[in-house]
Amino acid sequence: MTVSELRDLRERKEKEHGRQGPGTSQVQIIIGMGTSGIAAGAKEVMKTFSEVLEEHEVQNAQVRKTGSLGLDHAEPTVEVAAPGMPRVIYGQVDEEVARQIVERHILEGELVDKHVYDRPAPDALTE
């Protein structure tokens, strides 16, 4: 790859992966999959998200993994970004809570009580 190819790639990928603002219609479900998340069951939770999304035929959602979100006391943790909703981090997400996140937060636009842990940290790259 040359320098200019890298720049082009970056520009394209920035558009694809940039942190979404309120305008986009994509739902993003980002699951913390560091050692502590996986130990707490993050892999099963990821599977449940995919299944429940499919069950409800949600087309515009993306389920992704990431490293640890840092909230070890609340693993597994999941960040959810959906249009018209605050970006929040859910904690202690088991398979049942994952289902509720899809059915209530994503489909109904309603927060899932008792599992909202925090808002995400400010982004060092853009703020």
């Binding site: 990431t66 006391h73 909703m85």
Partner: protein
């Protein structure tokens, strides 16, 4: 950009309260009409569990709670509070007692005081996707360095940044890099035909019990370390980098391997990187998990396939390191800072943190604190902010006693130090140490003597045995501490602890032995009274040391409910139903279960 604030309305699907739905609709409507709907987002938030006082509206981030809100109140809420920033007193919740039930959206404050530079991508990108890393300015620093910067420019930025090593000692990174660069240049001048190989090493050994910062960076953002090492390779004319990771970190290893392969595929590692003529390879070396292998010279010996024991310095690795060539060795977190510094400039970085310690530090916050986890904070933050604002305070409403930092090489900070700004220098001045970033919160139930004994046990186990002060001194310290916790020590032992500790600090060959007495010296200073209570009164003030506590049942208070007898794991509590119970002291293992379960306060600890 996201919204500035949120307005949560209790309004679940199951909610029978028609008014809630109206309030929600009205708030949305008014916010839009007033043109603040891009700043505040009105969200239905499920049931707050306080329906009697509903409908309820909660505003974030200031957490104002309004009760009994009616649709006609929407206008005032929007005008006064959301647009005007002035809360509407008349609707605010007064009864503080209701608060604990209202945890629908918990603002733990966990993230809001953090400044995430090292963890900039952790929790955001897929660590297995180089594309996602690139989308967040990944490899932009390498690109900039290769195309626009000379070796001296790189070191100049590093110097301006003031970055100090995050592996424990806090040595300025630019000095280390410059020693190596000067040595490489000297060799190139004096014997260009037989130059020794230059190496770049990442120390990911992380042996400090309770620490997992480096693991999280390697698992969450492996490319940041690889990119940084390539930058150093270019600067110091090295062609090879080694990442030393402990074998107990399989996920970190797998993600690193994957990242290295991807970087190769993209031409960001290997030959002729970005077609600039620069060649650089990165290899992973696995450590067997010995604490001493985190010490830089032992680590290099281990990479060379030798036994992981330290060698005397000088010469320092910067000049004579791996395979006798000049070697730059830095900690994972140190590396992860480098790309940002190159991109945004050293000056920018130096403005974060304190004068002498710029930037941030990642801590693994554990122990008796509500929100345990990995936190990245600017240097200069106070302990109070970490423990209370980020950590959410001490668990179960217990009293804060101390924080241990620096693991087996560190010491304790007490309540008295809660407001001290934390940086490399303030911690050393207090007899502790930044260390790699373990931070263990202790409460009234933790015995400082026993905690210290635990660290010494660790250091004794991990000592490589090469030099006598550490090998013998450590054992002695440990046995004295054990005797103290068993109530078999004398006043003279306190002086002995001091004397042995001092000798070890001065005479040990490597950092392990030099710093192993630190926990002893630090706790002796801050908690001498606890030591004395163990020795003179045969008493453990925290009621932790088993040899010194005794559980007894107060015959006046016991009603004979039998709960304790049923819970005792060794069945040593005797007594008939409805009659006073008693504990067989010979059999009691002092587990404390009876004390915890007796609802009548009849079990006494002494």
């Amino acid at each position: 950009m996201g919204y500035r604030s949120y307005c949560l309305v209790c309004s679940g699907d199951k909610c029978k309260n028609e008014a809630s739905r109206e309030v929600y609709k009205e708030l949305r409507h008014v916010a839009e009409a007033r043109g603040v709907d891009r700043e505040v987002q009105v969200v239905r938030a499920g049931c707050f569990g306080l329906c009697r006082s509903g409908p309820i509206v909660k505003l974030l981030p200031d957490e104002t709670l309004y009760v009994g809100v009616q649709p006609d109140d929407a206008q005032q809420l929007v005008d006064d509070h959301i647009a005007g920033g002035k809360p509407v007193e008349r609707l605010m919740l007064r009864d503080e007692d209701c608060m604990p039930h209202l945890e629908t959206v918990r603002q733990t404050g966990f993230y809001q005081k953090q400044v995430r530079l090292v963890l900039r991508n952790c929790g955001l990108i897929d660590p297995d996707s180089i594309d996602e890393y690139i989308a967040r300015q990944g490899y932009a620093a390498l690109e900039k360095v290769l195309t626009e910067m000379s070796a001296d420019d790189v070191i100049g930025e590093l110097k301006a940044s003031g970055l100090r090593g995050r592996g424990g000692a806090g040595f300025p990174a630019h000095l280390k890099w410059n020693f190596t660069l000067q040595e490489v240049r000297r060799q190139a001048r004096e014997n260009p035909d037989s130059m020794s190989e230059v190496s770049i090493v990442c120390n990911g050994d992380e042996g400090d019990p309770g620490a997992y910062m480096d693991r999280s960076v390697l698992e969450g953002d492996p490319h940041s370390v690889i990119e940084a090492m390539a930058i150093a390779g270019y600067t110091m004319r090295a062609r090879r980098g080694y990442i030393y990771v402990r074998a107990e970190y399989p996920l970190a290893i797998a993600r690193l391997e994957h990242a290295i392969a991807q970087a190769h595929e993209y031409g960001l590692l290997g030959r002729n990187i970005l077609e600039t003529g620069f060649d650089f390879e990165v290899e992973i070396r696995l450590g067997a998990g010995a604490f001493v292998c985190g010490e830089e010279t032992a680590l290099l010996a281990s990479i060379q396939g030798e036994r992981g024991t330290p060698w005397p310095r000088p010469p320092y690795p910067a000049v004579v390191g791996l395979w006798d060539g000049p070697t730059v060795i830095n900690n994972v977190e140190t590396w992860a800072n480098v790309p940002l510094i190159m991109l945004r400039g050293g000056e920018w970085f130096s403005r974060i943190g304190t004068e002498s310690s710029s930037g941030t530090k990642v801590f693994a916050l554990t122990g008796k604190v509500n929100n345990t986890g990995l936190v990245e904070v600017p240097m200069g933050i106070t302990l109070r902010e970490i423990v209370y604002d980020i950590g959410g305070g001490v668990r179960d409403g217990k009293e804060f006693k101390a924080v241990q930092t620096g693991g087996p090489s560190g010491g304790v900070l007490t309540a008295e130090h809660l407001d001290t700004p934390i940086d490399f220098d303030s911690l050393s001045a207090l007899g502790s140490m930044m260390g790699s970033g373990g931070m263990i919160v202790m409460d009234e139930d933790d015995c400082m003597v026993d905690v210290t004994r635990f660290y010494l046990e660790f250091s004794v186990d991990e000592s490589c045995g090469k030099c006598a002060p550490c090998r013998i001194g450590g054992q002695k310290l440990h046995s004295i501490l054990s005797r103290i916790t068993e109530g078999r020590a004398h006043d003279q032992d306190l002086e002995n602890l001091d004397a042995i500790g001092n000798a070890m600090q001065h005479a040990s060959l490597c950092g392990l032995g030099q710093t192993a007495p630190n926990p002893v010296i630090s706790t002796l200073q801050s908690f001498r009274d606890e030591y004395e209570a163990h020795i003179r009164d045969r008493r453990c003030p925290a009621r932790h040391c088993k040899a010194l506590v005794r559980y007894e049942i107060d015959p006046e208070a016991c009603i004979g409910c039998t709960v304790c007898a049923r819970k005792c794991p060794v069945n040593c509590i005797h007594g008939e139903r409805k009659a006073v119970h008693w504990i067989d002291q010979e059999e009691c293992i002092k587990c404390g279960e009876c004390y915890a379960v007796c609802k009548f306060g009849a079990v006494r600890v002494s």
